[in-house]
C-alpha cells in the first residue's frame, strides 16, 4: 500500500496564484466574438397581472438587436423549470417558466429581455420598455399568506399553502405528560441574501446547423444544468455542453437551473449568435434566490435534571413566489433537528407557503443551520429554565459514544462520533471555568460578558444513491476518472464542481498518495460536461466524501492494474508484487523495482503488456457510499455586550471540529473561517427586509450588511479526527460546518450576557438596537 504523505499535508492551494493575480477566467472573461448582450427587464411589482408590454420604442433604440417578452418565448419551453422532491413528494407548486407571461409574483421576476450590441445599449433601450401592470395586493409574510382573506398567488393551487407535513416518532404526548419543565419558544430564521462575490453570469453559444449548444455559466451544477437545458429546449443532451469556469462563490445560490441560463440559450438559438448576460449586484439581490426565511415554533418537554424528553417543532417556510428547484430541501432541518442528543419523542411539522417574495432555496447549510439553531437554543433554554449549566445539559443529553452508530427518532443513522471529545477540547481552549469567574467579576462592574455553546452535528456527503433518490429525487454518487498518461503524469476528472473549495489541490493529494505520482504531476479537471461522465456537482458539503473518495478508488484501480503490469515486467507472480510510493517490486526486493513512469509507458506498448490485457492506465468510478457522513464539533463564542449602546463585540471564537480525515488541514481551516464568518453574519448583521409593497428595502450592500474582516475576531481552531467508516478515506465534510455551528453559538452568548436583564431569547440579527431595547424593556434594571 502507498505510504501516506500528501493526505494530511497543508500544501498551498494551486488555485490561488491565478485567483489572487486576477488571471482566473470567469464567465465574463470567456473570449467570444460577435457577442450579443442580454439585459433582463424585471418586474417592479410584487404581485400583478401583465396587461401589456410596449416594446416598439425600445426596438428603435441604438444597438438593439431584438426584444422578447414571455409571450414571445413561451412556445419554446419544452418544460417548466425543474422542482425536485426534496422530502416533500406531495407538495403543491405551480409551473414556473423562466419568464413571466401573464402574471408576476415577486419583484425581480423576468418579464422581457433586451438583446443589444452592448450592455449599455441594452440598458438604455430597457428604459424605453413600458410594462403595463394591474397591481394586485401582495402578501409577504408566512402567517398572513395562509389567512383565508390573503391574496392568492397561484389560483390553480387554490391557496398559498404548498404543503403541511408531519415528521414524528415516539409518544410525544406521553413525554409532555411526564415533563417537569415545559418551554415554548418562537425562533426566527430571517431571510438572507447569499451574496457570492461573483454574481451569476451566462454565456450561451448555439450553433444552428450542428444543433449544438455550449453554455458557460457561473453555477455549482453544470451537469444538472446540461440535462435541463436539453429537456427544456429540446436539444439532444449529447449536443449540449455546459462549462462552469472559475466560479466566485455560490453558498447554495448557484445550485439550481436558473431562468437566465434558459433565456440566453433561447436567445442564442433565435439570433444565431452567442448571447451573454452578466448579473449586476442590483439584480443579484432579488433575482438570485434567497435563503432561510423560516419561523420555528418549538415546545420542549424536559426534566428538572436537564433531560430533554421530547421536542415539538413546527417549521414554517417561506417559499417565495414559486417553489424553487430545491425549495423544499430546507425541510432537511426537520429531519436532523434532534441534533447530537437522545430523546424519547419527536413531533415535527413543516409547512411551506407561497408569498410575493424572491424564491428561497439552499443557502450554506440548507436546513442544518436551522436545525442546529433550534436544538442548540433548546439546550440553552432548558439550562436557563432548570438553572443548570448549558455544558451539563448538553452532556446529559448527548448521544454517547457507545450508542454509535446511533439511529435517530426519524430513522437517520449517524456514522460515528464521541461528542464529548470536541466539547472537552473546546472548553479547555476557551478556559470555561476561568471565564465564568471573570464573567461574575465583570458583571459587578457593569460589564456584560457572555459565553455561548453550539455542539452541532451535521449530515453531509449526499449521498447514498438509493437514499437520496428516495428523499431528494436524484441518485447522488461520486464520480472520478483517473488517467495516467504515457509519461507517468496523471489527469484526474471529478464529478464535483468546486467554486472556491480547492478540489484541484486536495484531490491531487488523494491521487498522489495512492499512485506515488508527485502531486505537481497530477492535473485535476472539473466543471465541464464534455470532459467526463455525469458528475453530481457540488453542494451540501458532499464533494470530498463522494468525489474525493471516488478519486481514491479510481486511483486504487489504476494502482491494481499497474501492479499487474509490473508483475509482468518483473516476471514475477502477481501475488508477490507490492506497490508502494510509486514503485512496484517483488516483496522483499525493493531495489529491483519498476516505477509508475515505466509502468505507464508499458501500458501503452502491447509488447510489454500481459497477454490479453487492454492497453491504457485509466479507471472510472461511480462511488456510492453506504451512509451519509456526520461531522460534529463544538463551537464556543465569547462576547461582550455594551450595556449602553447594545453593541456586541466578539471577544473570542473557539471551534473544535471533527470532519474525519483532513486531506489538507489548511483548506479545512479556510472553509471554517469563511463558514464561521457567514454564520456570524446571520447572527449579527444580515437581514433581507421588504416594505409592505414587496420592494426590497435592503437591496444594496449599504443596507444588507455582510460581515467584513474588521468585524470579526481571530478564530481559534482546534480539531479531533474520527474517520468516517463509510468511505475509504474516512473523510466527512467541512464546507458548511462553520455556518451551521456559529449562529447559535453567538446568540447563546448574547443571551448569556443579558441574563442579568432577564433576557431569554433574542431574534437574529442581534442588532445593537434590538439588544438595547431588550435590556431596557424593564427600564434597564438587572435582577
Amino acid at each position: 500500500m502507498a505510504i501516506s504523505q500528501m493526505v494530511g499535508a497543508s500544501i498551498k492551494r494551486r488555485e490561488d496564484p491565478r485567483l489572487v493575480t486576477g488571471t482566473g477566467s470567469y464567465v465574463d472573461d470567456i473570449p467570444q466574438t460577435a457577442v450579443v448582450h442580454m439585459h433582463v427587464i424585471r418586474s417592479s411589482e410584487a404581485h400583478a397581472r401583465i396587461l401589456g408590454i410596449e416594446t416598439a420604442r425600445a426596438k428603435e433604440a441604438d444597438g438593439v438587436i431584438a426584444i422578447f417578452t414571455g409571450r414571445d418565448l413561451k412556445p419554446e419551453f419544452g418544460a417548466p423549470l425543474p422542482v425536485t422532491v426534496c422530502f416533500v413528494p406531495d407538495k403543491k407548486y405551480p409551473n414556473h417558466y423562466p419568464i413571466a407571461v401573464d402574471k408576476v409574483h415577486y419583484v425581480g421576476e423576468p418579464v422581457a429581455i433586451v438583446l443589444a450590441s452592448s450592455r449599455a445599449a441594452a440598458e438604455d433601450a430597457g428604459e424605453r420598455i413600458e410594462v403595463k401592470y394591474e397591481s394586485l395586493p401582495a402578501v409577504l409574510d408566512i402567517e398572513k399568506a395562509i389567512e383565508k382573506s390573503a391574496p392568492v398567488l397561484h389560483e390553480e393551487l387554490g391557496g398559498n399553502l404548498s404543503y403541511d407535513v408531519k415528521f414524528a416518532s415516539g409518544d410525544a404526548d406521553a413525554a409532555f405528560k411526564e415533563a417537569e419543565v415545559t418551554i415554548k419558544q418562537r425562533l426566527i430564521q430571517q431571510r438572507l441574501i447569499p451574496i457570492a462575490i461573483e454574481t451569476r453570469g451566462v454565456l450561451a453559444d448555439y450553433k444552428t446547423f450542428a444543433n449544438k449548444l455550449t453554455v458557460w455559466s457561473s453555477t455549482q451544477i453544470p451537469h444538472f444544468v446540461k440535462v435541463w437545458l436539453a429537456v427544456i429546449l429540446g436539444i439532444p443532451e449529447s449536443n449540449v455542453r455546459v462549462v462552469a469556469p472559475e466560479v466566485g462563490g455560490g453558498f447554495g445560490s448557484k445550485i439550481r437551473v436558473y431562468p437566465e441560463e434558459i433565456l440566453t440559450a433561447l436567445a442564442s438559438r433565435r439570433l444565431g449568435r452567442p448571447v451573454k448576460w452578466i448579473e449586476d449586484r442590483n439584480e443579484n439581490v432579488k433575482a438570485t434566490h434567497h435563503g432561510r426565511d423560516q419561523i420555528w415554533d418549538v415546545e420542549i418537554a424536559a426534566r428538572k435534571d436537564g433531560t430533554v424528553l421530547a421536542i415539538r417543532p413546527t417549521q414554517w417556510l417561506n417559499l417565495g413566489g414559486y417553489c424553487s428547484q430545491f425549495g423544499t430541501f430546507q425541510v432537511l432541518g426537520m429531519l436532523v433537528a434532534q441534533g447530537a442528543y437522545r430523546m424519547k419523542a419527536f413531533d415535527g411539522r413543516a409547512v411551506g407557503v407561497f408569498t410575493n417574495t424572491t424564491p428561497t432555496d439552499a443557502y450554506r447549510g440548507a436546513g442544518r443551520p436551522e436545525a442546529t439553531f433550534l436544538i442548540e437554543r433548546v439546550m440553552d433554554l432548558v439550562a436557563r429554565e432548570t438553572g443548570l449549566d448549558p455544558v451539563e445539559v448538553r452532556r446529559k443529553n448527548f448521544v454517547r459514544a457507545e450508542d454509535q452508530p446511533f439511529t435517530t427518532l426519524l430513522g437517520l443513522t449517524y456514522d460515528s462520533g464521541d461528542y464529548t471529545i470536541t466539547l472537552d477540547k473546546a472548553l479547555d481552549l476557551v478556559d470555561y471555568v476561568g471565564f465564568r469567574k471573570e464573567q461574575a467579576e465583570k458583571r459587578k462592574q457593569g460589564k456584560y460578558l457572555g459565553i455561548g455553546l453550539s455542539t452541532y452535528i451535521e449530515i453531509c456527503g449526499l449521498g447514498p444513491a438509493a437514499a437520496t433518490e428516495a428523499a431528494v429525487g436524484v441518485s447522488l454518487w461520486g464520480m472520478s476518472v483517473v488517467n495516467v498518461h504515457f509519461t507517468g503524469k496523471a489527469t484526474v476528472i471529478i464529478g464535483s464542481s468546486p467554486h472556491g473549495q480547492g478540489h484541484e489541490t486536495t484531490y491531487a493529494q488523494v491521487a498522489s498518495d495512492v499512485l506515488g505520482i508527485p502531486v505537481e504531476d497530477i492535473d485535476v479537471q472539473h466543471g465541464d460536461t464534455a470532459i467526463g461522465p455525469m458528475g453530481m456537482d457540488t453542494y451540501g458539503s458532499r464533494s470530498t466524501a463522494l468525489d474525493g473518495n471516488a478519486v481514491h478508488i479510481s486511483a486504487m484501480k489504476v494502482q491494481e492494474k499497474a501492479r499487474k503490469i509490473a508483475a509482468h515486467l518483473l516476471e514475477a507472480a502477481e501475488g508477490d508484487v507490492v506497490y508502494e510510493n510509486g514503485k512496484a517490486f517483488v516483496k522483499g526486493t525493493p531495489s529491483k523495482a519498476v516505477t509508475i513512469q515505466e509502468i505507464a509507458a508499458a501500458a501503452f506498448q502491447t509488447s510489454r503488456l500481459p497477454k490479453g490485457m487492454e492497453g491504457g492506465l485509466e479507471a472510472t468510478t461511480f462511488f456510492d457510499p453506504t451512509n451519509f457522513v456526520w461531522p460534529f464539533g463544538a463551537h464556543i463564542a465569547v462576547v461582550e455586550v455594551d450595556a449602553e449602546t447594545g453593541a456586541t463585540r466578539i471577544l473570542r471564537y473557539v471551534a473544535v471540529d471533527d470532519c474525519g480525515t483532513r486531506i489538507n488541514p489548511m483548506v479545512v481551516d479556510g472553509q471554517l473561517h469563511g463558514g464561521i464568518a457567514q454564520g456570524i453574519g446571520q447572527a449579527l448583521f444580515e437581514q433581507a427586509v421588504y416594505d409592505e409593497a414587496g420592494q426590497l428595502r435592503s437591496g444594496s450592500l449599504v443596507d444588507y450588511l455582510v460581515p467584513t474582516a474588521s468585524d470579526l475576531p481571530s478564530f481559534e481552531l482546534g480539531a479531533t479526527v474520527t474517520p468516517s467508516p463509510v468511505n475509504p478515506l474516512g473523510t466527512k465534510g467541512i464546507g458548511e460546518a462553520g455556518t451551521i455551528a456559529s449562529s447559535p453559538a453567538i446568540i447563546n452568548a448574547i443571551v448569556d450576557a443579558l441574563e442579568p436583564f432577564g433576557v431569554k431569547d433574542i431574534a437574529m440579527p442581534a442588532t445593537p438596537q434590538k439588544v438595547w431595547q431588550l435590556m431596557h424593556r424593564n427600564g434597564g434594571t438587572t435582577r
Partner: protein, 286 residues
C-alpha cells in the same frame, strides 16, 4: 448598473470649471472623488447629462496653516487628512473622523470638498465642520464668496451652493492650545455610515470649560449642533457629573429619522451616550 449616457469634461482650472457649469446649467454635475455620485448614477437615480470632473485641477489638494487658520483644499482626500501631521497636532477631530470614513478605497478616492458639497446627513465631515465653525470658500460666475458651515448645510443632499458654484477651500480657525477634539461614531460595521456620530471640540482652561462645540451626525436632515450640551457645559469646571448632565441634553430638539438601523428614540439615546463618552474622552487627562 450602467449609468445613463452623459458627456464629460476635464477642466484644468477653476474658472474653466465654473464656465462649464454656467454653460450646462442644471444638466451638469461636479465630479470630485466620485464615491457618492457614481453609485447614484449607476443606479440611474442621478442622471446628469454632463459631468465636470474637477479632479485634475492642480491647486486644490493641500492642508496648510496661514494667519491663524487651517486651510484645506477641496480635493484633499480623506486619506491625506487622516495622515496629516498638521491636523493630527491641531485638529485631531478631523483626523479622527477621516479615519472612520468607509474603507481604505473610499478614503483614497473621496475628498473633503465632495463630502461637504454632497451634504449627506450621515456623512462624517459635515458635523465636524459645523462643530469647528468652518468657513467654506466657493467660487462662481460672480467670483468668490464665503459661507459659514452653519449656513452651508441646508437639508438632505442640499447645500447652499448654487448649481454653478464650486467649493474651493475649507477654512478652520486653528484651535487655541489646550483645545481638543474627537469624533465618536457608532455604526453596525466599521465601514458603514454612522447611525449616530458625535464631533466634539472642548477646551478646559484652568478649571473652566472655555470652549465647547458638539456636532451631531445622523440626528436630522442635516448636521446639527447640540446647543443644549454646549450651554450646559460652558463655564463649568468640567467635572464628570457636569459632563453627564450636559450630555443628557444632546438630543434636545432633534428629529432623527427611522431606518433599518435605528429608531428616533434609539438615535437620541445614542447621541446622549456618545456625547458623554466624547466629553469624557477629551477631558480625561486634563
Amino acid at each position: 448598473m450602467i449609468p445613463a449616457s452623459f458627456d464629460y469634461v476635464v477642466p484644468r482650472t477653476l474658472p474653466e470649471a465654473v464656465a462649464e457649469l454656467v454653460k450646462h446649467g442644471q444638466e451638469a454635475k461636479v465630479l470630485a472623488g466620485g464615491h457618492s455620485l457614481i453609485p447614484l448614477m449607476k443606479l440611474r437615480l442621478s442622471t446628469p447629462s454632463f459631468l465636470v470632473d474637477i479632479g485634475r485641477i492642480s491647486n486644490l489638494n493641500y492642508i496648510r496653516e496661514e494667519d491663524g487658520q487651517i486651510a484645506i483644499g477641496a480635493l484633499t482626500s480623506h486619506h491625506d487628512i487622516e495622515f496629516s501631521d498638521l491636523l493630527k497636532n491641531k485638529l485631531p477631530l478631523l483626523t479622527s473622523a477621516a479615519s472612520q470614513i468607509g474603507d481604505p478605497q473610499v478614503r483614497n478616492r473621496g475628498t473633503i470638498g465632495g463630502a461637504a458639497a454632497h451634504a449627506d446627513p450621515f456623512g462624517d465631515f459635515p458635523a465636524c465642520l459645523l462643530a469647528l465653525d468652518a468657513e467654506l470658500k466657493v467660487v462662481g460666475p460672480r467670483g468668490e464668496r464665503t459661507i459659514a458651515a452653519k449656513d452651508f448645510f441646508v437639508d438632505t443632499f442640499t447645500s447652499s451652493l448654487e448649481p454653478n458654484e464650486i467649493l474651493r477651500e475649507i477654512r478652520i480657525t486653528t484651535p487655541p492650545p489646550g483645545s481638543k477634539g474627537t469624533y465618536l461614531k457608532f455604526s453596525r460595521r466599521s465601514q458603514d455610515w454612522a447611525i449616530v456620530a458625535v464631533a466634539a471640540q472642548v477646551r478646559v482652561t484652568g478649571h473652566e470649560v472655555t470652549q465647547v462645540a458638539v456636532g451631531l451626525t445622523g440626528m436630522g436632515s442635516r448636521p446639527i449642533r447640540a446647543s443644549g450640551v454646549e450651554q450646559a457645559l460652558r463655564g463649568k469646571a468640567g467635572h464628570d457629573d457636569e459632563l453627564r448632565k450636559a450630555a443628557e441634553r444632546a438630543a434636545d430638539g432633534t428629529d432623527p429619522q427611522q431606518d433599518l438601523n435605528g429608531s428616533p428614540d434609539y438615535r437620541r439615546h445614542l447621541a446622549r451616550v456618545l456625547t458623554r463618552r466624547a466629553l469624557e474622552q477629551i477631558t480625561a487627562h486634563h
